[in-house]
Symmetry: C2
Subunit: 547 residues, 2 copies
Amino acid sequence: MGSMGLLGLFLGISAVLGVSPWNPTLAELLFLSPRTQLDASPFGSLWPLPQSLRISPERFRVAPNQFRIVHGPGSSEGPDCSLLQEAFRRYYEYMFGHSKWQNQDGGKSRYETELSSLQVIITSEDSECDKFPSITSDEAYQLQVSKPTAVLKAGKVWGVLRGLETFSQLLHEDDTGRYFVNESDITDFPRFAYRGILLDTSRHFLPLKVILTNLDAMAFNKFNVLHWHIVDDSSFPYQSTTFSELSAQGAYSPNHIYTPTDVHSVIEYARLRGIRVIPEFDTPGHTQSWRKGKMYILTPCYNGMHPSGSYGPVNPIFSATYDFMMKLFKEVSTVFPDDCIHLGGDEVDFSCWKSNPEVTEFMRKKGFGFWYSKLESFYVEKILDIVASVKKKSIVWQEVFDHGAKLQPDTIVEVWKSFYQLELAKVTAHGHQAILAAPWYLDLISYGEDWKNYYNVEPLSFIGSMSQKELVLGGEACLWGEYVDATNLTPRLWPRASAVAERLWSNRSVTDVSDAYNRLAQHRCHMLRRGIAAQPLYVGYCSHDFI
Amino acid sequence: MGSMGLLGLFLGISAVLGVSPWNPTLAELLFLSPRTQLDASPFGSLWPLPQSLRISPERFRVAPNQFRIVHGPGSSEGPDCSLLQEAFRRYYEYMFGHSKWQNQDGGKSRYETELSSLQVIITSEDSECDKFPSITSDEAYQLQVSKPTAVLKAGKVWGVLRGLETFSQLLHEDDTGRYFVNESDITDFPRFAYRGILLDTSRHFLPLKVILTNLDAMAFNKFNVLHWHIVDDSSFPYQSTTFSELSAQGAYSPNHIYTPTDVHSVIEYARLRGIRVIPEFDTPGHTQSWRKGKMYILTPCYNGMHPSGSYGPVNPIFSATYDFMMKLFKEVSTVFPDDCIHLGGDEVDFSCWKSNPEVTEFMRKKGFGFWYSKLESFYVEKILDIVASVKKKSIVWQEVFDHGAKLQPDTIVEVWKSFYQLELAKVTAHGHQAILAAPWYLDLISYGEDWKNYYNVEPLSFIGSMSQKELVLGGEACLWGEYVDATNLTPRLWPRASAVAERLWSNRSVTDVSDAYNRLAQHRCHMLRRGIAAQPLYVGYCSHDFI
């Protein structure tokens, strides 16, 4: 292991890969011979593997003090774009920052650079520099490394961000501390447009720093969605400006809240890395903490004729409920710029509704019979309408679809239960877009190299037409928070989530687990070097492994 | 959760607990009523639970600036004992150090103390201040908290260390930052004399800092043995002065070694906390890394008539092997002051020995037939003799016993395989002392509250006589290193190992999992406050949980 980079590669046979449904371009990948150092992948530490790459054995010296990342000629963007300026600075630091302490003898960078710059060229008129990323964001880029300059071309800033990450992964250091990049030619784009990480800040509060660190790690793995499961039964850390009592009463403590400033910081930090932030306000279940601030919002459960003192899901029978939700989602829709809001809708327990005589009466009036799933759908449809009225798209957990709620045409269904291939087939057969989470519940830890299970998933292995498969937007690695907080989140998530990252970005044909192991072991070392406490895949070490 | 301490307790019924085989004193425990704050144990955050305790509802204010830990009247020890001086300083810091930042208003400690000191009294003539702990070390102590001074009495420094930890756990802080200790009367001693943690520094190198941090955590949990599995197949980080080539060639890199100074630091840091350091030099298997420095030490494997290029266990047929081992163990016996050395002896693969014609010839000469376990025993017996000749006791993994080697009378057998009750019965029936590790392989992670499985183990549940059970010295939580390094070791080990700590220290009758949960959740918060990144047991938070 260690960070051996791409030393000793040479060009070998070539092959044509399959077609991705989301990027129906022919992707060409030139395979390289395995005549490399022991355990080194011919692709070095590239992760996720680009769609198409050619790496030559010729390598160019890069002297940190003579190398710059700059706006290239003809780019529609320049130093005014702070997203790019910050990215240039960040990637320069990732590539060379850690070598400062090594250069105490002053000699290691006293060599002539062969590569003087990476020129970044935005080719479309609107770079989207000040926009937020979205499901339609163009993340494609081309990267050509040749003497004396490397060129990174992309239509939008999002592609530049992905290309900078790739360029930084191409850089390798020899034993004397000198840097090299091999002559390369890369054309890259994601297989799936939605590549998410779910973090849960309700079961345990996650300090802002942990969230930001994980946004860094997400960028290193080309993830582009933070699904922020921000509130749940255990606590309500989201500080609402409209209903401040929700967090004042429902958070674990006054120290365990996300202020509007905190939330804004997360969103902007994510935007600068090409990452969307989709908040989840899960209802009608998973809402116990809401009642602390809003007494009337939950259904009182009954024990026979009398209230039992416990509470069930959101009370769906009062108009006050919907007035409250309207105001809350209006606020949420302005706080979170993303065009999607996740509404949850999972695991609604009907027993409390069944026990409540007012709910029973409501059911009778509505003619729902004993079908409590109809009451659930009644509720969810109203929430879907509210969200549509504030001009947002909804994402829901699969139960909402399974229980027959009439979804909006653009509602996205997130699949999380067993037999996910069947569910994906059903959801897409109904014309809905889908996100796959089921095989990627990373909180379900087990002994050994479980990342291989995540890696071996093929999201489109279900039976369905081409057009059905095009409805699968991507997937999500979920790290639910029951057993996870600031002490263990980062090593538990990384590099296990990296397996999901490659599955969602790289070509469908990239399935060689042993090559993946070699690249991922190095990629994990790179993450360590950048301050991410990513745990080891297996025995071994990194050349810079002390964190 | 949070650190609610012992607020609101009052004295309830009393009960007499069972007799411990190692401390055959009648232990009296006064149970307290559960009329406490929600989720608080009547025993606050005490972990492991003392053998006998009485806590009164009366509590005394402790003002940090007016409180001292001092040598008490009649103590045989004073300021000359740096072990105690350092312990006093350390525990003062644990108790009050974290409150500095809270006292910015200057007001919180402007109250009169009701408890002015903790007087520490060593009652025996030899405090053992400058000695190393051993299997016979007396860790018993008595702690009486009453106005205006608390008194901690112990025969030896080891009991003082345990008592200081208990006193620090009695301290609690109210919402305004004021400290209290309840009037208490505690008599305590360990149920088992051997309470270990195994760390593996071969599969992954562990930086010194990680080892020292975990010695801190061990002290917080009254563990008293670090079983240092220092070398194995993957790497040889132990820097031998006699055979420097072993680490020069066999360590992952020159940065991944433990110098004599490092080893000494670990031993002294451990000693100051009453913790023994037992090194394991596992042979004849698990030795691949040894060959890098000592070419001849391993058995060449054969493919038919020719050497295959791979190597098996230590070569048992040459006298050079034993000359080498004699020198190595002579060095090890002086570097490590503990009177035990762990010799390993697990998982010896016979296939390489079987393939080697010289070994076959040796077997024939010795009349071993096809019983390779006899060859293994031949080897192990010679190593046991070597270790006895350097005046150390040996610990071996159970295979050595299972395969019929003639052990020294004082050889200790460590039980690690399934059906451990049967094995304990067998080992002790043969008159050997035993250490139980089998149910406590903490590297075997799984989803959920697995600490309860560790907690529910009863080490003496096997069928055997009283005298057999007295041969069980204790047990060990093992964190093998295949998937563990500096990034994830501490949260993976703590507080899961704490479950083992209580099982090995507290009375056999202490088995209430729900009371354990409440205490352990608070104990984990205390560990967090002291800089140990112990992971959460389940949902919740600590009042000071940002690390």
